[in-house]
């Protein structure tokens, strides 16, 4: 598994907020937002809602019977001549890949985009075997060179300016400085084209896996997915176990939801369907095909009726684009593979809440994520559930804050009845008196000092509403009564 840096959330968030290049890059999320809106308008709102509803039904059905569909998927992949490996966790998955690579004397692996492969951390494993893993998705390639984690589910190098990319290429590839984006992409195309043609093994993700036919579906724009699944002799596809869908026809429900939500496209340049290795009568294609189906904590989410909905996610990234927090802190603050609102649910569920406690709390619960989610996943509800686990959950999920717990007990007492509530207000009115003579306070002691650094804070009113009610209870007499 890649390093978990979830404990660094706040400093990394602050760093991003204070970095003008990052903020400029994040401003470009508006393109994704507008693209999605325009694309749905073109599709038709009613038609979109029907697709969304149908997709939720299919997901519900599939997860309810996940064992049945994974069994079917596996059977059909094998009937097509492929091999299926069920991996409990990242380590088992990595060991399997290592085994296949060794068996085939693999020297170079070309990889097309797979978040699951990031979860596995397979690149490091391959490198330790002196096998060269090469990310071929342009964004993934850039961050591979930079040795960074992906910044966004759809656009891994979202945070990099073209100057930074040029500098990266100069430093690592020895290419001359380039200010033109087309030229920069051209550099990557040339370098990667060589790798495509010499690679012994291709690793891809699977946006969907069709149980009924044993087919994995790759949704891409670049063509690197096609290359990775057609050029080398060995093809390994990695998928999270929740990616299975029952029928081929279900794709017509899911595909527009994915492409229009992710990039505002009515369809991507390529949608590739791979069912097992090449047939004997095919001109090309891999001789062997492997599908790794990964659990890595998903069964835990499946077991929790309140978190199961997170498995509906088709990884479109729309929630990231809509999130006011992500739009300011960017992807690295989230500290692991999946950033943004979905990351705030998935990461603590997989790596454990105590390690990733900030993630469910660093949200205003505004609901924009749920609003744009094509599967209508109620992320705020799940964040509340994780918060409750963090505070009052069983040992292992719990990471309470003692001071805060005390304050909450105090609060609970304060609101337990009108008399004590009134008394608390009176006490606060007295205590705040020395802090300022004005209506508003410019400085408060910690922890509320965090507020007053940038905002004035109102004083408790000496005459709260409940003390004014008696005078208001009888409405003023009308003149003509």
């Amino acid at each position: 598994m890649p390093s978990i840096r979830t404990k660094e959330f706040t400093p990394r968030a602050t760093e991003a907020i204070n970095n003008p290049t990052i903020q400029q890059s994040l401003d470009r999320l508006s393109n994704f937002r507008q693209g999605r809106v325009d694309s749905i308008a073109e599709f038709g709102q009613k038609r979109w809602e029907e697709h969304s509803k149908r997709a939720q039904e299919i997901k519900y059905e599939t997860l309810e019977h996940l064992d049945y569909y994974l069994d079917m998927l596996s059977t059909n992949v094998e009937r097509a001549g492929g091999t299926v490996f069920f991996a409990h966790d990242a380590k088992e998955a990595n060991d399997y890949v290592a085994g296949v690579a060794r068996a085939h004397g693999v020297k170079t692996v070309i990889k097309s985009k797979s978040m699951v492969s990031e979860e596995m951390g397979i690149a490091d494993v391959l490198e330790s075997m002196v096998i060269e893993p090469v990310e071929t998705d342009l964004g993934e390639y850039i961050i591979q060179l930079a040795k960074e984690a992906p910044y966004h589910i759809i656009a891994p190098a979202l945070h990099k300016s073209k100057e930074e990319v040029s500098e990266l290429f100069e430093r690592i590839l020895g290419t001359p400085a380039e200010s033109d984006i087309i030229a920069l992409a051209g550099v990557a195309r040339r370098v990667l084209r060589e790798k495509f043609l010499q690679a012994d093994m291709g690793m891809t993700g699977a946006n969907f896996a069709v149980a009924e036919t044993g087919t994995i579906v790759m949704v891409t724009n670049e063509g690197n997915g096609r290359m990775s699944s057609s050029l080398p002799k060995v093809h390994i596809a990695t998928m999270g176990m929740e990616r299975v869908i029952p029928k081929l026809s279900d794709l017509s429900t899911f595909l527009p939801l994915l492409t229009r939500s992710a990039t505002g496209q009515r369809i991507t340049s390529y949608v590739s369907f791979a069912t097992g290795p090449r047939r004997r009568d095919e001109e090309d294609g891999p001789d062997s095909f492997h599908l790794i189906i990964l659990d890595n904590g998903r069964s835990k989410m499946l077991a929790d009726p309140q978190l199961r909905e997170a498995l509906y996610c088709i990884r479109c990234g729309a929630c990231l684009n809509a999130c006011p927090v992500y739009s300011k802190v960017g992807g690295h603050a989230y500290g692991w593979v999946y950033p943004g609102p979905i990351g705030a649910v998935v990461t603590p569920s997989i790596v454990g809440i105590p390690v990733a406690k900030d993630l469910p709390f660093a949200s205003t619960l505004c609901g924009a994520c749920r609003e744009v989610c094509p599967l209508n996943i109620d992320i705020p509800r799940m964040l509340l559930k994780l918060r409750s686990d963090a505070t009052e959950g069983p040992k292992g999920t719990r990471k309470p804050n003692r001071v805060e717990s005390m304050m909450m007990r105090g609060w609970r007492l304060t609101v337990s009845g009108p008399k004590i509530f009134s008394l608390a207000g009176k006490v606060a009115a007295i205590l705040q008196w020395p802090l300022s003579r004005n209506r508003f306070l410019r400085r408060l002691p910690p922890p509320l000092s965090a507020w007053t650094r940038t905002r004035d804070f109102p004083k408790v009113d000496a005459k709260p509403f409940h003390s004014r009610w008696a005078a208001m209870a009888i409405p003023p007499q009308k003149k003509d009564d």
């Binding site: 470009r28 019977h65 069994d71 299926v84 992409a185 294609g285």
Partner: protein, 246 residues
Amino acid sequence: MATKEEFLAIIRAALANGRNPDAAPTPAHTSSTQGQGDLAQRAANLREDLVPKKDALLAQLKKSAGLQEWKMLVVASHTEARDAVINIATGLNAQRIVRTAHLAVERLDLDEAFWAKSIECVLLASGAQQPDPAHLQEIAAQADIGVTGVDYLIAETASASLVSREGMSRMASLLPPVHIAVAHMDQVVESLEDLLTLREAELGGESSRNWYMNLVSGPSKTADIEQTIVIGVHGPGEVHLVLVTG
């Protein structure tokens, strides 16, 4: 190391919470073999329904092809199609063409026609007896243009479906920087749903057990640097659709 049984047992345990163990998946989602006859009928009905829609489909295809950045040409006959392909090639100063054995391409007699212009055009195939994918990759990687047919064209999204088969190498539409797809009006369907229905109907039977298909809906592109679109990374940056109506 996880076996399938252990893995599925964990899932069953995870689902056991509140689940009715006797509940089987709903009929709508059980395996398609039961509905095979049904499927064949649906496919037949679909084909029939498409016939009167030809004009509307053509209009829709033209529109979406434009939006998806295909360079599209509508021609009345195979002769015209051949000329169109030749013109595209000469216009690009192409020297080497690779092609597939799709019927629509075979009909154009391209090898001869290109040879007459001193342009090399080869069928990208090894022959079933001696498959040599590496060799095909080499040829395709050096070619200027790949010419293929299509299995179907989706009007709504301007998507050409290509299934990999004997004589129909995956490389022809992937490695050269330019891809020309030759299609016939009869191959046009309306939506992805239509295509998948027809595909599913064709898949019944052992021989279709494994298959590789691509939907190509425009040039290859990326926007991974500052969200600026760059075409032709890594697949063909220029895609032509030559549609024969006659």
